[in-house]
Amino acid sequence: MRRELLSFKQIVYLLILFITGSTIILPVGTEAKQDIWAAVILAIVMTVPMVLVYARILSLFPERNLLEINEQILGKIVGRFINFMFAFYAFTLCALVLDNFGQFINVTAMPETPLAIPMVILCLLALWATKEGLEVIARSGEIYFPIIVFAAAFTFLFLTPNLNIQRLQPPLHQNSEGIVSAALHLFSFPFAETVIFMMIIYSSKKTKAMTKVYLAGLVIGGAIILLSVTSVMAVIGPERYQATYFPAYLAVQTINVGDFLQRVEVVVFLIAIFAGFTKISLCFYAACKGFSNALGCKEYPFLAVPLGLLEFLFAANLFNNTKQMARWASEVYLYFAFPFQVALPLILWIVGEVKQRGRQGSPEVDLHDESQG
């Protein structure tokens, strides 16, 4: 099987796009109200140890991604079952993000177009990207990244006159419950979702320091999220932030520079679609890879078409309205994602450490393992 090599920079770009993906348009961390900045920081701090675990697992087994590591340390049957679970997680996540974008476009721009149309278009794009391979996704990420940075900087610059620090007051007053709850939600969406990356990247000579890659992506992506949600909160205030499905859109609507530069909501679409495309493609790619591994096939691209159809059908039937989407995102997703984001990686890490120690003790096993892999 052809190995797909990514450079350090490409992985970091993908991580940033993945983290910003749909987070930037959705009302994340509403429980924290005006202290959302604190919740984001807390969530990043909570994610750092998890990310270190992810990176450690990958570094323990160079040249292998999560799927192969599972097979190696848990045995064929258990490993493939776990891979199937991870693939299902990626598949579900992809459907959720697709649904978010479908709802976003449906609610804000094209209320009369069926919800499924934007979804099927994004789904076809993801399908195509997966067929072309990870390198293509990474290169498209390289192209998108500067555009998104420019668009986001431009938007932020013109939002500054509307920022009102009073909307962030009173800071940190008897709100610890809200902050912690918001931070937990932010941890599960989007920061710890980077567990998907373990299924598609592996540590090699080219990307040696997995820890560095993961931390760089997390910190930069987290900083972008921090900046964006805080400024959105300072523009529309906690009450309206909570009441609307897509607060960033509402905030950007207020941009009005000299009656000339206004109605620039399209920029939000630009950012959301580019970053969202990356997130959807990566999840879909991971799902294809995971399923092909679980089914015991060597290649993955042949699964793209049937899975793409199922993905679309899944996403189209997931929720009937935006309220359901918001409710499930806030009440269910946290518990659904927990085993994949925390429990399984922790178990894998411990098992991996133990096995690797054993290997160091007896070089024969090492040789045996090498020949098998």
Binding site: V107, E112, T113, P114, Q169, I236, R240
Partner: protein
């Protein structure tokens, strides 16, 4: 055979793709009825909606007169049990689908506002086409539709006149411009009552013209009272929204002589403290002004004279502002000054001791302490009062 089947399939496929391409619900500009202003009235449980729709084709002969673009507005009326029903019912009268993205002004009648404004404002905020940057006004004492039925003299439509006026609100200093988004936020925020400007139709020579006069005060979602233009100015000072305007000051030497001051810049700082378990709000207003008019020959420009003038003006302004606060506290009981929000923001510990929903009871007892500091800068083109020769 196989090849031809393949080609057929491709052609069929292209046909399908071609027919699917393009916009799903494309709308040409000729299919739209662009709404520029709307008003909401209520009678017998029916919401009466009047919209001003631009007719870009009509009135081309008028082009060139008094800055007009030659646009003639058309008024349409529709009714329904809800706003949305009224909007949809109107299609049968207008003939086209109403397009709301360019609406500039929404006028709500006093009766609707007294009954509760959520029935209107929810739709405005919910609908994807309507923008939260639209101005909201309350028509005082008359049906909101009558405001749109007046005639603007310089502008093509009444809505355009009100829009331009509210955009440059600063110059008169007695106008408060509120967008639907701001209104919504103030209505939902803890410890602040929403305000909206009021609009009336005035008789001018032969025609009725629209006039924006003062402000309407809301408690929760209901209209509770009005402030006139002068009181609105003090409200602007208190909300730190004063940009430009005029102040009338009297001097000590000649009681009847007025000096007009032009406000260049104003800044208000509010802090809160507790005195005997009662919140007291300290208000400092720094106001940069210049002399715009002196109506009697008296000395207000020399150092001694100008000092006296500022002292007198400070005192006068302090009294007026305190009176306005007292009036709102006593008569309306709605915290349009945002004192509660100030306490919530800066002293959340005090806010925590007030039971939920109890602010409207506490607000009338809040003590205030107003300090005004007028700074004089210049006296426009003339360096001295206009003197009369002997």
């Amino acid at each position: 055979m196989k090849k031809s089947a393949c080609v057929l399939l491709v052609i069929w496929h292209l046909f399908v793709l071609w027919s699917m391409a393009g916009c799903w619900n494309f709308r040409e500009i000729r299919d739209l009825a662009v709404v520029i202003g709307a008003s909401f009235d209520k009678k017998d449980d029916q919401i009466y909606l009047t919209v001003e729709v631009l007719n870009p084709k009509g009135g081309e002969q008028d082009r060139g007169t008094s800055g007009s673009l030659g646009i003639k507005p058309q008024l349409f009326e529709g009714s329904g049990k809800t706003v949305f029903e009224a909007v949809r019912n109107m299609i049968s009268k207008v003939g086209r689908k109403l397009y709301w993205s360019h609406a500039r002004v929404f006028i709500v009648s006093e009766d609707v506002a007294k009954e509760g404004i959520i029935q209107i404002i929810d739709w405005i905020n919910r609908d994807a086409e309507v923008r939260p940057q639209t101005w909201i006004l309350v028509s005082k004492g008359q049906a909101a539709g009558d405001i749109l039925r007046t005639r603007s003299k310089l502008f093509d439509t009444v809505s355009m006149q009100i829009d331009t006026l509210l955009r440059s609100q600063g110059n008169s200093g007695k106008l408060l411009a509120v967008t639907v988004g701001d209104f919504m936020e103030e209505m939902q925020k803890p410890g602040v009552g929403a305000v909206a400007p009021t609009v009336e139709s005035m008789k001018d020579e032969r025609e009725q013209i629209p006039e924006v006069t003062g402000s309407a005060l809301f408690r929760e979602e209901r209209l509770v009272g009005f402030l006139n233009g002068e009181e609105t100015m003090y409200l602007l000072f208190l909300r730190n929204q004063m940009k430009k305007g005029t102040l009338i000051a009297a001097t000590a030497d000649h009681p009847k002589a007025n000096v007009s001051l032009e406000v260049f810049r104003s800044h208000t700082i509010k802090t809160v403290r507790l005195v005997d378990d009662r919140p007291v709000v300290d208000i400092w207003i720094d106001c940069l002004t210049g002399i715009a008019e002196i109506s009697k020959e008296n000395d207000v420009i020399s150092e001694r004279g100008s000092q006296k003038l500022t002292e007198r003006t400070n005192e006068r302004l302090q009294n007026k502002i305190t009176d306005t606060i007292k009036k709102v506290q006593k008569e309306y009981g709605t915290d349009v000054f945002g004192f509660g929000n100030l306490i919530y923001r800066e002293r959340p510990d005090i806010w925590g001791t007030i039971p939920k929903g109890g602010w409207s009871k506490v607000f009338p007892t809040v003590g205030t302490n107003v300090n005004v500091n007028i700074m004089l800068r210049g006296s426009a083109k003339l360096s001295e009062p206009t003197r009369v020769g002997e």
